[in-house]
Structure formats: C-alpha cells, structure tokens
Amino acid sequence: MSAPLLALSAVTKRFGGVTALDHVSFDLAEGELVGLIGPNGAGKTTLLNCLSRLYRLDGGSIRFSGMDIAKLGRHEVARLGVGRTFQVVRPFRSMTARENVAIGALFGSDRARLPPREAFRVADEVIDLVGLGGRGHLLVDELTVPDRRHLEVARALATRPRLLLLDEVMAGLNPSEVAEALEVVKRIHASGIAILVIEHVMQVIVGICPRVVVLHFGKVLLEGDPSTVLKDPRVVEAYLGERYARRVRGSRGDG
C-alpha cells in the first residue's frame, strides 16, 4: 500500500493548561472520505486549525503527501493542496460570490493558480457545482445563510485541493438543504478529492463516510465504520453521558 496522503502522529495541542489535542494519530488515504465526530469541545475544529497551520503544534507531527506541515507557512500548506472551510464562514466581504470563488482559483494549490480569465471560468463551474448558479454576481452580504456555506465550499474547492477539510458545512441547514449539500459532498468526493468532514448531523456521517474517527476530550476514542462506531457504548456515553448509556444498555437487556 502506498503512503497515506495525510498522516497524523501523536498530534498534541495545548492552550495554557488545557490539552485540546492529546496524541491524536490517524491516517487518511488519497481520495478517502473520513468523518471526524465527537461531542462539543472534543477538539475537532482545533484539529482542522492545526492541519491548516492556523495553530502551531505542541507535539507530534502532521505529514501531508510526505511533507512535514509544521515547517511550512499557512499559504504553503494551501499550495500543497489542503483546502478548508470555516465553521463560522469567512468570505471576502468586499467582493461578490463569483469573485470570492475566483480568488480560490487565482491562488490556491499548485494545480490552481490560474490566470484571471480562466480563474473566473473555473469559478463559474464551481458555483454551479455547489448549487449557487445564478447568484454569483451577488455581494456576500446579499446571500442567504445556506448560500454563504455553499460559497465557503466553492472557494475551497476552486483552490483545487487534494484534501478538503469541511468544518460543519451543514450546520443550520434544513433537511432538504442537507440533502442537497450531501449530494455536493458526494460529487466532490467522486472527483477524487480526499475529504475530512466534521459534522454534527449524523445522517451525513452515516450516509457518506465509509470511516469515522471519534474524538473525545482531545483523544481518539475510536475509529471504524460508522454503523459500528455509533453503536459503541463508549461513543454513546461520550455524546449522551454515562447515565443515558447505562439506560440504553439496560433497555437492550445486555447491561
């Protein structure tokens, strides 16, 4: 088997006395789709921030296609092919949706970095792909909240990443919007891009991720296929508390 696209090894991040990530290790293969789940405060977004170099590691290492990310600048990680969205969307407010996406294609990974005309052509394609078609000319402030999330994905996608980090892109969407967004993620994955997706909507995780990693208090609690992992008592306990977990076990008659 070839080397993994992304390899986390004992990744540790502390904020003062709080250990937000504690020896987190897992791999992600080229083109793989992995779900990252865990209760609030488990360290999911912190992990993405380490991956995109917003944070410095306090220990361990992250290798992306063989390169040690810790030695690179933020823009260099992006150039290597790590694209990301933010949980709280961060568009360029002074620009239209189309211009936002074009920035991704103008810069982005080494496979992007297109001349302006081509960047705008790619922007139009990506805008259609994420379901923003016909609204590219709008300023960011004129977009609806779901559309701003789509825009966040579009901009990251236009950078032509090899690995896309999606941070709760479906939070706050209604069920039909979630279904649409799911289709988008599937299409992106089908195009060969590896995806690490943080999501609270379990339907998303079960529906599309062949493998999930569960974080709890900054540690990897479990990883495996979602239907097995979500039934695991340790995961139920992490999400819902010990008492609920006992009750679930009791009602099944195996506790």
Binding site: L54, H75, G83, F92, L106, P116, A156, T159
Partner: protein, 287 residues
C-alpha cells in the same frame, strides 16, 4: 471674473498634485491599516532622484518618473518585509512610532547626502503655458495633473484587474482566509507597501518640477495626504481623487478669502480636517 477662472484652473491643477501625494498613503492606510508617517519622506526621496538625474544626466524630469517609482517600490518592499511587518499586528501607536522613526532616518540621510539647500528642477519648458483667453494654464502643472490622474487610473486598474490586486483585496478583507486559499501574506503586505511608496516616488518627481525641494520638505506632504484621505474617505482610489481635487479647491480659494493669505494654508487644512471629522467622519465617499 478672469481672476476667478484663473484661480479655478490653478486650484484644479493643484488638486491633481494632492491626488498624487495622497494616493499611496491612502492605499497603505486602507489595506495595511498603517498611517505611514514616512510617506512624506518617500516623496522627497522621489524628488531627489528626479533632481539628481536631471542635474547629472540631463534626464527630463517626466522621464525619470518610472525610475522614481521603481526605486521607491524596492525601498518600500524591503522596509515592509524587513521592518514594519514585525509590528503589523501591534496597536496603531507602534506603527506610528516606527514609521515616524523611518521618516527621521530618511530625512537625516538626505540631509547628509544633499545638505539642507533648497533645490529645484527647471527644464527648458518650465515657464511655458497655454493661453486660453484671459486664463494661462502652466504646461508643467498641466502635465503633472494628467500624470497624477493617470497614476490613479493605473492603481485602480491594478487593484481591480490583476492578480496582485486580488491578493491585496483578499488580504485586506480576511487575513487568515486569504492565507488558507494560498496567498502569501507577508509578500502581499510588502507589495502593498511597495506600491504605496512607488506612488509617493512619482508624486515626488512631479513635485520637484513645481516646487523647491529640501530634505525636510516631506512633513507637510504627509499632513496633506492625511487630510485628503480623511476628506475623501478611506478605501477607494476614486475617494482619494475626489478628496485631492476638493482639497486643492479649498486651499486655493481659502487663501484668497478676504483677510487670509498664503500663511494660512496649514490652518485651513487642519480646519477642514476637523470639520470633516465632526460632520462626516467616514469621509465624503467612505464606507
């Protein structure tokens, strides 16, 4: 009547010079959030480059403008990359202090090299003008005006149509998000500061043809740039052009108001600044 027309022409032409003086200052303030107190010194460096090339090589002052721009771009880029970047996230007071220090260093270096004598650049066509009935349009001032507006147009085009402009706007809008789509933050900051300095260099070259220059002449330019940007509003080339032209009008007609004279130029500038800050703090075209 003819006096009024003549004054109007001179005021508009003077406004063009103010546009050139302020445009780089506006860019650096708007994008990097640095009130660049060494801007006036950059202008004076540009003026001395033009003066030197004119005196030593007989190069026409208008032909030396690209050289001013290139030299000041390099100076600005290196200063930002090596020095100012270190305090870019610090409170505004630190950047004020640092750019004030840079200003002092440049002024004293110029004093050591060029002495404190006043210099002027006087090409053969210095005194010529276009006569339109009762009004005379000085050729050099007209050319300076045209170049100032051309500079503004070029900067606007650069910001809207090029890769560099896109990077600058993205960085101004969201520093972190820009880096995560692959934009090199430090390089973009240094480019922005370099472009601002290049504009100052061109302004200096233009000024050397219409005013006498000395190493200490830069501080009023910084003040004028500040007033023009506050007047027009931060954040766009158009706002700076409007601010510059308006300031030219205010200054020329202010000085000729009954009871006032040329000595009141700075007082008028400050009065305008105060009034704008009270009435419309975001400037005429500010967001």
């Amino acid at each position: 009547m003819s006096l009024l027309a003549q004054q109007l022409v001179l005021a508009i032409l003077l406004g063009g010079v103010y546009v050139a003086v302020a445009i780089g200052f506006s860019l650096v303030w708007g994008i990097l959030n640095i009130i660049n107190l060494s801007h006036g010194a950059f202008i004076v460096v540009g003026a001395y480059i033009t003066w030197t090339l004119f005196g030593r090589l007989g190069l026409d002052p208008f032909l030396s403008l690209p050289i001013d721009a290139a030299a000041l771009f390099a100076l600005g880029y290196l200063l930002q990359r090596g020095l100012i970047n270190r305090v870019i996230r610090a409170p505004v007071f630190f950047t004020l202090l640092l750019t004030f220090g840079v200003n002092l260093a440049i002024v004293n270096l110029l004093l050591a090299v060029f002495t404190s004598d006043f210099r002027s650049v006087t090409p053969p066509y210095a005194g010529s003008g276009i006569v339109l009935g009762p009004v005379v349009i000085p050729s050099i001032r007209l050319a300076a005006f045209a170049i100032a507006l051309l500079l503004a147009a070029l900067l606007s085009l650069l910001m809207r149509r090029t890769r560099i402009g896109a990077a600058i706007q993205a960085v101004a809008s969201d520093r972190d998000a820009a880096q995560l789509v692959g934009i090199d933050l430090r390089h973009t900051y240094a480019l922005t500061y370099g472009i601002g300095a290049a504009c100052a260099g061109v302004a200096g070259g233009l000024l050397s043809t219409v005013q006498a220059i000395s190493p200490t002449a830069g501080e009023p330019y910084t003040l004028q740039a500040f007033v023009v940007v506050v007047l027009g509003g931060l954040g766009s080339v158009t706002a700076t052009v409007v601010g510059g032209l308006l300031f030219g009008l205010i200054e020329v007609f202010g000085q000729s108001a009954p009871g006032l004279g040329a000595g009141y130029a700075n007082a008028i500038a400050f009065a305008v600044l105060v009034i704008v800050l009270i009435v419309r703090p975001q400037g005429l075209l500010g967001r």
